[in-house]
């Protein structure tokens, strides 16, 4: 008789739920931010909005590996509470990290270009928003694997004797 483990199916379900909450919350917060700070809707703001969502998705993609690792490890060890705590912390940490990257990129772009970015975005400066978008995406690509490694270091794997 075949023995099938449904852990991975639970991981899929968990990741789908977490991804929906993560991206929905990020979209909501970004919508509020854009409506409050930039107000106008044009091509430049649309590009920046989508780039920021994509960069948060990249962070989520990397942290999802740590989430599934933590789930598999703690469930195998029957430490359910620790599983919930670790997964929640990774999730919240990744979300805050994505938001911080977005805010940090504003300072970076403003310092590179010596221009008032909010004003330029209001004036539909597509080139600036494209540069900002690429900076965001590349930052997420560079930094999120390190974030994932950091998250994995919190899983207490047994030490190898060599």
């Amino acid at each position: 008789m075949r023995e099938i483990h449904f852990d991975q199916l639970v991981v899929v379900f968990l990741l789908v739920i977490l991804a929906i909450i993560y991206l929905a919350l990020f979209t909501k917060v970004q919508t509020v931010f854009f409506n409050k700070k930039i107000v106008t809707k044009n091509n430049a703001t649309t590009i920046l909005f989508i780039a920021s969502l994509l960069s948060s998705g990249i962070v989520l993609f990397d942290i999802s590996k740590a989430i599934s690792e933590a789930f598999n490890f703690f469930v195998k060890e029957k430490k359910y509470l620790e599983a919930v705590i670790n997964i929640s912390l990774y999730f919240v940490g990744a979300w805050i990290f994505s938001w911080c990257i977005f805010r940090l990129s504003f300072f970076m772009v403003s310092s590179f270009t010596k221009e008032d970015e909010i004003y330029e975005l209001k004036n539909n400066n597509v080139e600036l928003s494209l540069i900002h978008g690429f900076i965001l995406i590349i930052l997420a690509f560079i930094v999120s694997p390190a974030l994932s490694d950091l998250a994995l270091s919190f899983i207490p794997y047994p030490k190898m004797p060599f």
Binding site: E3, V12, V16, A19, L23, F49, I50, L53, F61, S68
Partner: protein, 153 residues
């Protein structure tokens, strides 16, 4: 050697059939909104197609690993059936993810998503595209591990 040739042949046939199936089914879905497709729906169609292919790639990888097993077990016919089944599973899983994306969009946006897409709203298109691709990327690995249990047990 013949097993590898058969593997390549089946992969190509399954891949082409999958492209045909996905292309027609997604195109029909979008054409129900507006025909001919506007720019936003063309972008969304391309991204959705790409997402379906990402899932196919993940599913087919375990099928090909199985083929290498088949070289040692002389059970090629049984294993050659795995690839079409995996492609079909990938198709069903991708449709499920696409539906989840559509419901998520309805949940997070106040405006009517379908009407906004018809009205060429790039923002809605971008959000839906990112959500679908992220869902495909993060779920393909664990679902493939789950399916692999059936093949390797």
């Amino acid at each position: 050697m013949w097993a590898s040739v058969l593997e390549i042949f089946i992969s190509i046939v399954v891949g082409l059939l999958y492209f045909y199936l996905v292309y027609n089914s997604i195109l029909q879905h979008f054409k129900r909104m507006t025909n001919p497709l506007n720019n936003v729906l063309k972008i969304l169609f391309t991204v959705t197609f790409f997402g379906f292919l990402l899932n196919l790639k993940a599913f087919i990888t375990i099928g090909i690993m199985n083929f290498e097993n088949a070289l040692h077990t002389d059970n090629l016919i049984k294993f050659s059936l795995y690839l079409p089944v995996l492609a079909l599973l990938s198709f069903v899983f991708s449709i499920l993810l696409f539906q989840i994306t559509v419901y998520t969009m309805k949940m997070i946006r106040t405006e009517n998503v379908k009407i906004e897409l018809i009205k060429n709203n790039y923002l809605i298109c971008g959000i839906q595209s990112v959500i679908f691709i992220v869902l495909c990327l993060i779920t393909s690995e664990p679902i493939v591990y789950f399916v692999a249990q059936y093949l390797y047990n």
